[in-house]
Amino acid sequence: MSTRKSPFFKKAEISLASPKAIEIWTERYFPNGQPINEVTSSETVNYKTLKPEPHGLFCQTIFGPVVDFTCACGKKATKLVKNKKFRGYCPKCGVERTSSRVRRYRLGLIKLKQPVAHSLYVSHRPSPLRLCLGWSTKRLQAVLKAVEFCYLPLIFTTFQSERECFSFFPKSFLLLRSQLTQKNEVFLEPRSSGFNENLSSSFFFKEKKRSKRKTGKVFPLRTSPRLFHKKHQKNRPRLVFNHGVIEARLYGIAYDATWPKVEEFQEFLFYLWEQSFFYESSIPYYAFAKGVKSYKEEIPKREQSYALQTGGLALQQILSHHDSSRFEYDLIYLSKKVSMILEILKENMASLNLDYEDDQKEYKKLLSKVKKLDLLLLKWKRQRELYRDFEVGKTQPAWMILNNLPVLPPGLRPITSIGGLVVASDINSFYRKIIIRNKRMSPRNNLGIFDTTLGGSWLSWCYNLRQVQEAVDELLRTGSVDAGRPLKSLLDGLKGKKGRFRQHLLGKRVDYSGRSVIVVGPKLKLHQCGLPKEMAVELFQPFIIQQLRLQGIVFTVTAAKVLIADRKPIVWSVLGEILKRHPVLLNRAPTLHRLGIQAFLPRLVEGKAILLHPLVCPAFNADFDGDQMAVHVPLSAKTRAEALSLLWSRNQLLAPSSGQPQHLPTQDMVLGFYYLTCSLEKTLKRVDSLVSSRKLFFQSSFFLKKKNEETLKNSIPQNLYFSEFSQVKTAYDIGNLTLHTPIWVKWTSCVQTFVPERHSRLKETLLETRLTFSGQRQTLFIDTCQFFSPSFFFGKKVRFIRTTPGRIFMHWCFFEANAEMSSTPTSKEKKSLEKK
């Protein structure tokens, strides 16, 4: 069955499972049709031989053989099938002779005699169960622990609702013909009859149909399954829990009613509500008080039961009768109503005059009312959302109550002896506890007063119910303390860092991956990363071997490995060729969003650290104070293509969350830009020093001479004029200019300046305008000066701007480097710039 080595998963879904679904998971039959899935004995293994006990928690019949292809009798499977009837099964012990691996897959089943609430749905906040019922947490817990009780009308306890039937036998079940046994065929039958076509098939239709044919009479309303009548569907119980229409609490009698008291009350009610049979109708009490149960003369069958119910059973009954669509409709209606009331209240509040004391009181009152109503609305909204979730997930609220408990495969909860000491998984003891306690319960829903399963005492029944509930709680969620040692529950095994998900499923060690410290790689392109040679050789070894063999350099894998181990030069050239078209994935530890893992084209570098482009650091939230990153190698061509199309760093320019640009310069880059673009003028506090230099510009040489001495004191060279950027560059290369020297350059297109606020006015004010006799015009600002030739409209305009060599280089890097790419490699240019 499940001997495949790696079962192929298309998807995994976490949702509620119906009791039937659980049964189907575990369902397996002997060739003769006898089911084998239920664990009935609390035994585990023989303490001496460590052999599984039959029908116990490690039973070989249920879960599969311990030794491969060997049954419990010790007989090996032979290829000759002697008995066709028992194919694969040992006729003596009933163990299927297959691989022992199945013990890791096959589930067992514990049929709980009383339904028990799934503790995760009770305790988790906000608890879905509580929201469904509209009860308080305290009441819910009390009912589950059989402390409080709720009244259920007879129809609840006697008949299963249409919804419940439907949910227990889902449609898909009908299609599983191969799994059907003769027992299930019963359910298929009524489908063919045209009697009630709109209702799903259930056991009860059949019974009803038969009885109707026999008697030809309509059942008395009180006891008949009127739920299934098309006509009377309106009469179905409509539940609005908070309003107490149906369920009455026992608070009227005694809030803290103890079990004996409730038992007495139960019996009182029981006798009070008992209906007469036909033959009893002569008794005067029945004659005028109650309707007669049946006109048929037959052996009386007691359908009466205790009216007050408790535990998971009560919850299941309520939930399974739940009409969620109608309930949702109700909620919508009510919330509309309430919101209207709220509006009126708010209007009232607005109309109040808060100066008066009376109105203040009124205001407070209204305020508290509004708050309460707001809370109510919120609760209803949550309830609606919950029901929608159930609807969307195609699940039923009633499934939160467990009828069947699956038993974990024994391979996952082993009992082994280590050095003579028997070590058992914690979960085994929980299952044992559940089985033992479950045995004490009665399986029936409708307990009569004289029911033998009660053991003569309602009290002990309640106690047992609580015991089962607690045992299941321990298994699923809470765990328990046994002999001073906390036992791990199923939930503990799943959640947290050491849980199944984070430790074993997500935190798996991956093949073809490495890990190293990152350092900055300022010379990298955005799509590149630096990969240490040693790492690359290890990661790409299979590819190198493949290439070496394809190129005919070596003929065997071992020879290739020797070549690689010796680090022959050919290895590097082959590796370099491979890396040209092979991306790697880089990942930094808290992968909080999609950009936490990106693809790069690797470049071989010396040393042992991975080089990372500084611009992608914000995406990884990485810095270079010792951060580590993991490297993964996509293997197949498909994954490589995917890595390049989806994960490549140059495709991640914008952050997916906000649409903001992702690659913004930070830290060192900003500092570098600042250093490159700052001007010596900035070091001078006084602005008038700038102005004086401007005056210089226009003054005669005599005046200039005098001024020059002053400015030389400021150690700023004045009046350097250039007509082209290349001239600036040449002067800089020779060493006549520093990065920060203020210079004037001819420049016709736009300029962006970053002026401090206090200077901004100065920047914009016109310092000087000159008009010559020939009509030429010169205007002068602090940062620009413009020359206009005589003709006013078509005059050529020449503009000089004040800037620094550093700013020109920056401009050049941004705008002109690309243009020059064709003639000279820019990286070299930059390098020579940086060297200075």
Partner: protein, 278 residues
Amino acid sequence: MMKTHNLFVSCIESRVQDQGSLYARFHIGTFFRGQALTFGNSIRRALLSEMPGFLMTDVRIQGATHEFAVLPDVEETVLEILLNLKKTVFVPRIPKNQKFETFQGFGFLKNNGPGKVRAADIRLPETVQCVSPEVHIATLTSGAELSLRFNLQFRNFSQLEKREGTFKSKTVAQAKTEDGNVQDTTNELPTLEKNSLFFQQLQNKRNSKDQLFLDTVPMPVQKVNYVIKSLNAKNGSEYIILEIWTDGSLYPQESVEFALRNLTDLFFQFANISKKSN
């Protein structure tokens, strides 16, 4: 010691860029580890700052008393004309093998409008040639008259340095106070040219008011790049890729040759001195 048979200087690529600029790429080797940087940096410095070349030292324009003046009916301002003049490139008109030591002379330009004035219009001495005749100098409208005269010098770095080196400290201070609106870099890098004959001349001519001063540094080599590549990682040998852009007045090949000889001279002198002092 160095293996001599491994040495090479080879020109890999050579072409004419736009505006008459010449480009060439050399591979120079073989060096031991670290030597390439020493070599590369010193040859770069030598190429950039020690090349001899023609230089317009001062310009006299009729009607312009200072460089921010404006000429009637000329579209360009005097400042622009000066900047345009700076773009012109001159070469000595002599046979290749002959050595050109020093030169001093004048160039003239006289044009009436309307029309465009280009570098080809400049009248030059017999021994000097303009290699960038297309360079635009000014645009004249009708009635305009442009006449200018400039002083042209051929400056040889190494020669001047040898002769004037001793005056250094004094003349720098002088230059600082004197050079006025000359495009000035003295406070940044007191280059040795400032201590030269040129400055003495400059001081003499200072009294004539309408003289406009231009750049004092010849820049026949515009840009030099070098990249160090490893030739053989095991024994650590390296070579240099050297890229040179010149303004067209000399070939990159010549400039490399010249720079190497200059450097050799320089180091050789110090080697002699140190030998003597020991």
